[in-house]
């Protein structure tokens, strides 16, 4: 469960970052973003490549400075702070990267010790802390190995251990799983979830993969052309996306709804009425659907669909062939509509639905 306290830990206020592009052209990488990240949550930022996600997250630890607007981190306004004053702020924020960015000249233990050296810890305390961290991320046996000998997943674990070394309140993850295979991605996401739950660290996750948002984020901001175009609870954004770009992302993570072509085939393959019924955390499962159908004496056969979890709550849809007397089917449809959202695709003889309905996916 989210450990969010509701307190704001990162606040963007009309934050903008303009780069001088080539030949004097300006690039508005981040374009007037106002947004609060709450303490203790896993906050996702999703968008296509070039949307400005990395720049946005780099404003948080001032690797980039705003050209206008402000970024307030844990009560400190970073605007106008000198480079020397920013260093301690950065030391208090962990960051992990797509390419891991480990020092190849140092062992695993040496990498994890680096931020502790920067923070002036004694050698003895460093050793103890490094051991603790490597235990936490599950690679204690690799302490004396050089990064070149590690797999991607192990490298990212080192990256996470290093980022957590100085007990930061915030962990920034810029495409932390984008270079990993699906299984390793799953493990690393589970680790980030533990970081959030067990250590209470606020995690900001940058990604272009909606699956990452689906599996661990509490809230999400969708970015396009430097702007946040949609913001809300991950569940809400998934179940009721308002922007086209969001709908496209949602469709990459949820494959339960049949495309137009699939509906076409379902209608020819099955004689009955084809309907898609939503399953969410209110309906919970197909129990309601079965109940309504039984009540009206209609047979329902599941022909397509799936139920998955979004932000740890059930979400998906089932496409069902309804067979029974016309009146009964009509009554059953009305009954279903009263408990969940229903899309009626009709039958082969009497097809329903706009051509673009159901999305092309």
């Amino acid at each position: 469960m989210p450990t969010a306290t509701g307190e704001t830990i990162i606040s963007f206020r009309e934050a903008a970052k303009v780069f001088d592009g080539r030949k004097g052209a300006e690039v508005r990488a981040v374009d007037g973003v106002t947004l609060d990240v709450r303490a203790g949550e896993i906050f996702g930022v999703i968008g296509y490549s070039g949307a400005g996600k990395s720049t946005l997250v780099r404003l948080v630890n001032a690797l980039e400075r705003t050209t206008s607007g402000a970024v307030v981190v844990d009560g400190t306004d970073l605007t106008g702070l000198s480079e020397a004053r920013l260093r301690p702020v950065r030391a208090g924020i962990g960051m992990i990267f797509q390419q891991f960015n480990l020092l190849s000249s140092r062992t695993v233990a040496g990498n994890v010790a680096y931020p502790l050296e920067v923070a002036g810890w004694s050698a003895a305390r460093r050793r103890e802390r490094v051991r603790e961290l490597l235990d936490f991320v599950g690679i204690a046996d690799k302490a004396d190995v050089y990064p070149a000998k590690l797999s991607g997943g192990q490298k990212q674990r080192v990256g996470i251990a290093r980022a957590l070394a100085t007990n930061p309140k915030i962990l920034l993850a810029d495409e932390a799983t984008s270079a990993l295979d699906p299984e390793t991605t799953h493990d690393v996401l589970a680790l980030l979830q533990r970081v959030n739950r067990e250590l209470g660290i606020t995690v900001v996750v940058i990604t272009h993969e909606m699956d990452v948002v689906r599996s661990i984020c509490h809230r999400v901001a969708v970015m396009e052309h430097g702007k946040v175009v949609e913001l809300g609870d991950a569940y809400q954004v998934f179940s009721a996306p308002t922007q086209e770009v969001t709908r496209r992302f949602v469709s990459t993570a949820l494959k339960d709804r049949p495309s137009v072509a699939v509906i076409e085939r379902l209608r020819t393959r099955h004689a009955g009425r084809i309907v898609t019924v939503g399953v969410d955390d209110v309906t919970g499962s197909s129990a309601h659907v079965t109940h309504v159908l039984r009540e009206h004496g209609v047979d329902g056969t599941i022909v397509y669909g799936g139920i998955t979890e979004v932000a740890e709550r059930p979400y998906g849809s089932l496409t069902v062939e309804l067979v029974g007397p016309d009146d009964a089917v009509r009554a059953a449809l009305a009954g279903l509509r009263s408990v969940t959202d229903v899309v009626d695709h009709g039958t082969a003889r009497d097809p329903l639905g706009a051509p673009d309905e159901g999305n092309d996916r």
């Binding site: 301690p88 208090g92 960015n101 020092l103 680096y114």
Partner: protein
């Protein structure tokens, strides 16, 4: 001349070359590292981006480096006199070698640093490391292997420069080969000097390769 007469002279020439090469390698190594680091750091977009400083350093390296050493030696004359006090002798010659080797090595260092993954520098910055700490704990250790190879390359370059030491009366192996080999039509003497130089270069190359491989951490 007999071998008995030549041998002490050869030893003397060897010591002169060793001294010139070591001084030029040490000074060129340190100054070259500093100038090369400066080039890298001040390059637009890098840690201490500073366009004017970068432009000046870059121009200096570009001007000095391609000049043939024998011409550079003459051109540097006034500076040599101001610094060393004379334009003749082994000190004056070594001074010119130091200057040239600094600029040669600077470009080598810069090229090695450019090949470091900028992400690693970024990670160090994100952990709150100061630029000086990044130079010390990231840039030099991460580029150590190519820097060692670069130093090996510089050694050969400096040895090459030392060969014309005779022009300023600085002596050395090159001067010995010309005086007692070429001018005396004694091909044997030249051959011995060539053999000595080949052995030295091979030894240094082997040492450099071994150290560089060990520094690679793979």
């Amino acid at each position: 001349m007999t071998a008995d007469q030549l041998l002490p002279l050869l030893w003397q020439a060897f010591l002169e070359t060793a001294w010139m090469v070591m001084v030029a390698l040490a000074v060129g190594g340190v100054c070259g590292l500093a100038i090369g680091m400066g080039l890298y750091l001040t390059r637009p977009g890098n840690l201490l981006a500073n366009r004017p400083v970068f432009a000046v350093l870059n121009l200096a390296v570009n001007i000095v480096r391609p000049i043939p050493f024998i011409i550079f030696l003459v051109a540097l004359g006034p500076v040599t006199r101001a610094v060393v006090g004379k334009t003749i002798g082994i000190e004056a010659f070594a001074f010119a070698m130091c200057v040239m080797s600094s600029f040669v090595f600077a470009r080598l260092v810069e090229q090695n640093l450019v090949s470091i993954d900028p992400g690693v520098v970024e990670a160090a910055r994100a952990m709150g490391a100061s630029p000086l700490r990044i130079v010390r704990t990231v840039l030099i250790p991460e580029a150590l292997s190519p820097l060692i190879l670069g130093t090996t390359f510089l050694f050969v370059g400096v040895l090459d420069m030392s060969a014309i030491g005779g022009y300023l009366g600085a002596g050395g192996l090159g001067d010995f080969a010309i005086q007692y080999g070429y001018r005396q039509f004694d091909w044997g003497v030249t051959a011995v000097v060539v053999a000595i130089i080949i052995v030295i270069v091979q030894l240094v190359q082997w040492l450099g390769n071994t150290l560089a491989r060990r520094a690679l951490r793979r």
